[in-house]
C-alpha cells in the first residue's frame, strides 16, 4: 500500500489503476528499499512524499513513471530522426564540404604561403604594422613548438563557421529589427541557444549526423556562436539615429535604399562588435567540439585530460589563448577603424 492509494480510490480510478502492468521497471530507490526490506509506507508526516510521478505510480501502476518521460522523449526523437536527417542531411552537406575544403586548403598549402597571406589580410583590415608584427610572432611561436598544424585546423574551422554565422546571422538580425513580432519570437530562441550548456545540443546532433562528418561540429559551433551577431545586428539597426532615418524618408528613399545606404552602414560598428563576439565564441566552442571529432588544438586539450598529459594540455590551452588574443585584437582594430569613420 502506498501514500496516494486513497486519492485514486476517491476519484474512482481504482479499476483503471488495476489495469496497469505490475511489472513496471523499478527505480534504484525501490530496489534499495526492497533489499532493505523497508515498507514503502511513510512512517510519519515528516516523510510524506510530494505527489510526483513516481510516488503516484506507487499507488497506481497505470500512472506513468518519470523515467517514461525521458524515455518517451528519446523514443520520439528516434522515431522522427530518420525523416529529420533525410531533410537536414542534404541541407547541411555544403557545411561539410566547406569545412573539409578549408581544412584541406590550410593544411596542404605550404606554411610560407599561408603565413604571408594571413599577415596581408591582417594588414588590410587593421592598417597597423604593430598588429601584423604581433600576429606574425604569435603564429611563428606556435609553429616553432610544432603546433602549427593544430592551430591552422582550429583557425580554418573558426573562419568557416564565423563566416557562416555572419551570413545567416545578419539577415536574421535585420528581420528582427524590422518586425517586433519576429523579434519577440526570436529572442527566446537566442536566449535558449545562449544558455543551453553546449554539451546538451551535441547529444541530438550525434544522433542526427554521423560523427565522422565535419558538419556535426560545424552545426554545433554555428548554433553556439551565431547569437551575438544576430543580437547586435538587431540592436545596431534599432539604434540608428531616428533623425537620419527621417531624413532618408523625407528625401524619398525606398525601404531597400534605406537599409543599404543608411541602416546597415550606421549599424556597422555594432554589427562588427557582434562579429568579434561570434569569433570568440566559435573559438570557445571549437575546443568543446573536439569531443565530437573536431580537429585542432581542442584535440590536444582533450588528450591532456584523458591521458593526464599535463604538459600537452597546458601548452595547447596556451595556444588557444594566443589564438584568442590574435583574433580579438585583429577584429577590435578593424572595428576601431570603422568607428573612426562613423563618428556622429
Amino acid at each position: 500500500m502506498a501514500t496516494y492509494d486513497s486519492l485514486f480510490s476517491a476519484l474512482g480510478l481504482k479499476d483503471w489503476c488495476a489495469e496497469g502492468k505490475e511489472d513496471g521497471p523499478m527505480s534504484m530507490a525501490d530496489l534499495l528499499a526492497k533489499a532493505k526490506g523497508k515498507n514503502a509506507e511513510p512512517e510519519s508526516l515528516w516523510d510524506f512524499p510530494f505527489p510526483s510521478m513516481d510516488a503516484l505510480n506507487d499507488s497506481c501502476t497505470a500512472f506513468p513513471q518519470s523515467r517514461e518521460l525521458t524515455q518517451g522523449l528519446e523514443q520520439g526523437f528516434l522515431a522522427i530522426k530518420d525523416n529529420l536527417s533525410l531533410v537536414l542531411d542534404p541541407l547541411t552537406q555544403p557545411l561539410s564540404w566547406a569545412l573539409d575544403s578549408a581544412l584541406y586548403g590550410m593544411l596542404n598549402t605550404p606554411w610560407w604561403i599561408v603565413i604571408p597571406i594571413m599577415l596581408a589580410v591582417v594588414f588590410l583590415v587593421t592598417k597597423s604594422w604593430k598588429l601584423v608584427l604581433f600576429v606574425g610572432a604569435s603564429i611563428c611561436l606556435l609553429a616553432f613548438i610544432d603546433y602549427y598544424e593544430y592551430a591552422m585546423q582550429t583557425l580554418a574551422i573558426i573562419f568557416v563557421c564565423a563566416f557562416l554565422c555572419v551570413l545567416l546571422g545578419v539577415p536574421i538580425g535585420i528581420a528582427m529589427s524590422r518586425s517586433n513580432t519576429i523579434q519577440r519570437l526570436t529572442i527566446p530562441v537566442l536566449d535558449m541557444l545562449q544558455t543551453l550548456p553546449p554539451f546538451v545540443y551535441l547529444i541530438p546532433l550525434i544522433f542526427l549526423f554521423s560523427v565522422t562528418e565535419s558538419k556535426l561540429y560545424g552545426i554545433a559551433i554555428i548554433l553556439y556562436a551565431i547569437v551575438p551577431v544576430v543580437r547586435l545586428t538587431n540592436l545596431g539597426i534599432r539604434l540608428v539615429d531616428k533623425d537620419v532615418i527621417e531624413a532618408a524618408d523625407a528625401f524619398g528613399m525606398t525601404p531597400r535604399q534605406k537599409l543599404f545606404k543608411v541602416q546597415i552602414p550606421l549599424a556597422l560598428p555594432n554589427i562588427m562588435a557582434g562579429v568579434n563576439q561570434t569569433i570568440m565564441m566559435s573559438l570557445a566552442m571549437v575546443v568543446i567540439a573536439s569531443l565530437v571529432s573536431a580537429p585542432g588544438l581542442g584535440v590536444l586539450v582533450l588528450r591532456g585530460i584523458r591521458n593526464l598529459e599535463l604538459g600537452v594540455g597546458l601548452v595547447a590551452g596556451l595556444g588557444i589563448v594566443i589564438l584568442a588574443v590574435v583574433l580579438d585584437r585583429v577584429t577590435k582594430a578593424s572595428l576601431a577603424r570603422i568607428n573612426a569613420t562613423h563618428k556622429q
Binding site: 533623425d243 527621417e246 531624413a247 524618408d249 528625401f251 545606404k261 550606421l266
Partner: protein, 343 residues
Amino acid sequence: MANDIKISIKNLYKIFGPTPDVALEYVKRGMNKADLLDQHNHVLGLRDINVDVCDGKITVIMGLSGSGKSTLIRHLNRLIEPTAGEIRLNGNDVLDLNEEQLRQLRREQMSMVFQKFALLPHKTVLENAGMALNIRGHTVADFENEAVKWLARVGLEGNENQYPHQLSGGMQQRVGIARALVSNSPIMLMDEAFSALDPLIRSDMQDLLLELQGELQKTIIFITHDLDEALKLSDHLVILKDGEVVQQGDPQDILLNPNDPYIIAFINDINRARVLRVRSVMKPHSANDTDYAGDISEKDNLETVLSLSGGDTDKTYRVVRDGETVGSLSMKDLTRALVPSEA
C-alpha cells in the same frame, strides 16, 4: 503669379492615440486638449488648421514647443498621416497619393532641412549634398558638379571631402541646406533649421537664406520658436498654440494688431524699431503735404529712420518706392508705433 497658392492645408486635424477617429468626434464637438488627454487618453496634435502657402514666399510657422509646429510640417510630405483634413499641392490632394507617387513627391517636389542636421555620418560632405540625386539613381560623377556648385554657394568651398563630424554645427547645417538645394525641388521644408546654432551663426544663416531666396524664389515653409527669426524671415506668419492657429497673416500686421494675449506676451520682448518697417506705419500719400525732412524707402525699418532723424520728433519724412511717392511718415506716428499695443 507671385501670390499663387502652392500648398493649401484645409481643416487639418491630427490626434495621437489608439482610436483617433473616436477622439476626433469629441474634438469636433469642442473638447479641448487637456480634457481629451484626461478623459480619453488621446493627445490633440493639431486642430482645424487652415493655411495657404504662397508660391515663392517664405511662410513661417511659429510656436513654442508642444504647439504642434513640427507635427504640422511633417504632414506636408506625409511623414505623419493626418487624422482628418486635406493637404493640396498645386491643387492635388497629397493624401490621395500611393506609396510610389508619395516617394516621387518627396524626391522631386519637397526637400527638407532638419534641426539636428541629420546628415549621413559615414558619407563625405559631397556625397551628403548629393543625397537627393543619389536616391534618384545618379552616381557621384553625375551630381558632383551640381553638388560642388551649391556647396560653394553656401560657403563650403574646399570642404567637399570632409566628413560631417569634422565640421562645426553651422557648417553642418550649410551642408543640410546645400542638400536641399541640390535636390532642386520647388518647395523647401525647414524644421527649426537654425535652432541648434548659436546666435551669431544663426543670424548669418538667416541672411544666407534670405539671399538665396532672393535668387531662387523657392516656396519655403520655415518652422521656428524664435519670434525675431520669424519676423526676419517671414512673408506670411502663422502662429500656433496648442495645435491651433492663433493668428496668421503679414508679420507687420500681426505685430501692430495682435489679437490674442498669447501673441502680445510674445511680442512684448522684441525690438520693434528693428522689426517694424516704414510701409507698415506710414500714412497714405496726400497732395497737400509740404515740408519733408527727407526721403525714406518703404522697406526701411524704423531704427534706420530714428537714427536719420537724430531723435527729433517734429520731422516728417516722404516715403518713396522706386522713386515714386507712396506716403508720409511723421516721427510722432513712428514713436507711437514703438509702444506695444494692448490688443
